[in-house]
Amino acid sequence: MGTYLIRRLFWLVPVLFTVSLVTFIIMRSAPGGPWDTSDERRQVDAATARSLAAFYGLDKPIWRQFLGYVIGDTNSQTGKYVCGLVCGNLGPSYRQRGRSVQDILFGAPEGKTFWQSRFGYSLRLGLMALSMAVFIGIPLGIIAALKQNTIADYIALFIATSGISVPSFVLAIFFIIIFAARLHWVNILVDDWTQIRYWFMPMAVLGFGTMAFTARLTRSSMLEVMRQDYVRTARAKGLVERVVVLTHMFRNALIPVITILGPALAGLVTGSFIIETMFSFPGMGRAYVQAIGQRDYSLIMGTTVVYALLIAVANLSVDVFYVFVDPRIRLEE
């Protein structure tokens, strides 16, 4: 187990290295420099462009730029060594002068906690959406399985199927048009996100798909467990139905559900950028979409690496989780 975990953790290194290399190559193959494309309002003259390139180290050979991004390089002006990605330094933003990428993503405003940073906002929204998925999705799946082929089952299946097949941003469009533009029940142009009631809409939209998936998974997992011999044995022993359902079926049926929670949270945190943009939510995803619009290459790259790390760790968590919750599984050494 220990060796396996360490080996998997080491495997993260080449994966992240490749992700940053691919991103770097694609970003650098874009025609033009980062400040002269698609920004007609403020064309930079040649001398300024040269000094900007020197400031950001873009005048160095391409391989050195990449190594500088990953490992670090000496600053051409001060001559001091600046550590790169390996120290968590994602480099300076090309558009927001004087701010580094990690500061934009993880830095909280003056006097605020980590939870007020862009990543903190996205994480909180993701956690809320995930708890909604768990606390509604799992009971829904259990009821559907216990009452298979009844009206309750069909309603649960309908919710699950529509939640899986309607993409979250389409759902967001429906919600915004119905509840905000027509019925005026909610306000979607919020600038004060400290009030928790504004969080309800983005949370519901974001969590709906995961909730549906959780419900479907719980249902199918319950149906499978219900046919097992140990459930029949439990019933034959004369156990109360409540005990059979809760301790024999529920605990075993939950195994596949628990294991998807890690990737689900990663998916919710990383997949929220459209929802965040639609609701003008001040999270990491919106920063990413704004960076796309402004062609802020370093911010796009930095966010991609952070997202990739989150997903890789989440995928790793599946395998580890499995071993803890299901003693039948042994990881191959």
Binding site: W11, P14, V15, L16, T18, V19, V22, T23, I26, M27, S29, A30, P31, G32, T37, T161, S162, I164, S165, V166, P167, F169, V170, I173, F174, I176, I177, A181, R182, R216, S220, L223, E224, T270, G271, I274, M278, V289, I292, G293, R295, I300, T303, T304, Y307, A308, I311, A312, N315
Partner: protein, 330 residues
């Protein structure tokens, strides 16, 4: 080989010939199960409808999708005229957009991009994925190792982010301008998605390789190529078809998201172009006019939801039909 012939009790052998149904191929068996599934049939009808819409857009669309009507901006649709102060006109069934173009016609033309994005990259993905997956699974060794390492990296890369990066960075290059940016989009979608197919096929091949019928084929002297194409491939088709049915709506959603972010298809301005606009691009237009003309946003969103739902129904039905043992458990 049919399930019905096995279930007949052999006490009256003579009557077996008359009772048992004529033997049918696996494909026909699956098809008859599929068309008994109401949701799948509905899904097939919806998909067929949108395919026809895409092919005959120029005939079906009531208006020219590029025609500007200066004084008729943001007209509400006739059936929902009370929402704003602007008077509707009956010839614009879903109203007009910010330049006075007919929304319904634009949505109809938009189906072309979604249908092509759903099917064309899928062909490339299938071709490349199946070839690599079969080779890796059957030959094993270095090839197999390489494939698995490539998959690990691709799986770690968030799909959507990769598409966004490619579309943002290469948009102004030569390839990014071909077919209004669709060629680049296809390439990006195919690069990421072939890996999943390759891995699926590899897994199938690895398990089928151990089966007796492959051994038998070896014994009678069949070549590796023949075993792969005639024995292993047809037997691994079931899961492959199901995965494709679930992959197509994914591609359509990706296109809509990229269009919505403004990095998908470039909307055409000349009428000679086959791909005028896409649902994602329409949603981007609609987002800015959500109060004055919500149908510009609602109509393409509804279309995306319908198509995706149709493919999900079809995919569920196909899975049940091709693997009856899984019925009702998923």
């Amino acid at each position: 080989m049919t399930a019905t012939s096995q279930s007949v009790a052999p006490d009256n052998i003579a009557s077996l010939n008359t009772i048992s149904t004529p033997s049918r191929s696996l494909g026909r068996e699956a098809w008859s199960r599929l068309i008994r599934n109401k949701a799948s049939v509905l899904g097939m009808f919806i998909i067929g409808f949108f395919i026809l819409l895409a092919i005959f857009a120029s005939v079906i669309a009531p208006k020219n999708p590029l025609e500007l009507n200066g004084g008729k901006r943001f007209l509400p649709p006739p059936f929902d005229a009370g929402a704003t102060n602007i008077k509707s006109e009956p010839e614009f069934l879903l109203g007009t957009d910010s330049l006075g173009r007919d929304v319904l016609s634009r949505v109809i033309y938009g189906s072309r991009v979604s249908m092509v994005v759903g099917f064309l990259p899928t062909m490339i993905i299938l071709l490349v994925g199946t070839t690599v997956g079969m080779a890796a699974g059957y030959l094993g060794g270095k090839m197999d190792n390489l494939l698995m390492r490539v998959t690990d990296v691709v799986y770690a890369f968030p799909d959507l982010l990769f598409f966004i990066i490619v579309m943002v960075a290469l948009r102004d290059t030569f390839i990014g301008k071909m077919m209004n940016g669709l060629v680049l989009l296809f390439a990006a979608l195919a690069i990421v998605n072939w890996v999943g197919v390759a891995r699926l096929v590899r897994g199938q091949v690895l398990s089928l390789k151990q089966k007796e019928f492959v051994e038998a084929a070896h014994c009678i002297g069949a070549t590796d190529f023949r075993i792969m194409t005639k024995h292993i491939l047809p037997n691994s088709l079931g899961p492959l078809i199901v995965s494709v049915a679930f992959q197509i709506p994914g591609l359509i959603i990706y296109e809509a998201i990229l269009g919505y972010l403004g990095v998908g298809l470039r909307p055409a301005t000349d009428s000679s172009s086959f791909f005028i606009t896409s649902w994602g691009t329409l949603m981007l237009d609609g987002q800015s006019a959500i109060n004055s003309q919500p149908y510009l946003l609602l109509a393409p969103a509804l279309c995306v939801a319908l198509v995706v739902m149709a493919f999900t129904f079809l995919g569920d039905g196909l899975r049940d039909a091709l693997d009856p043992r899984m019925r009702g458990t998923q």
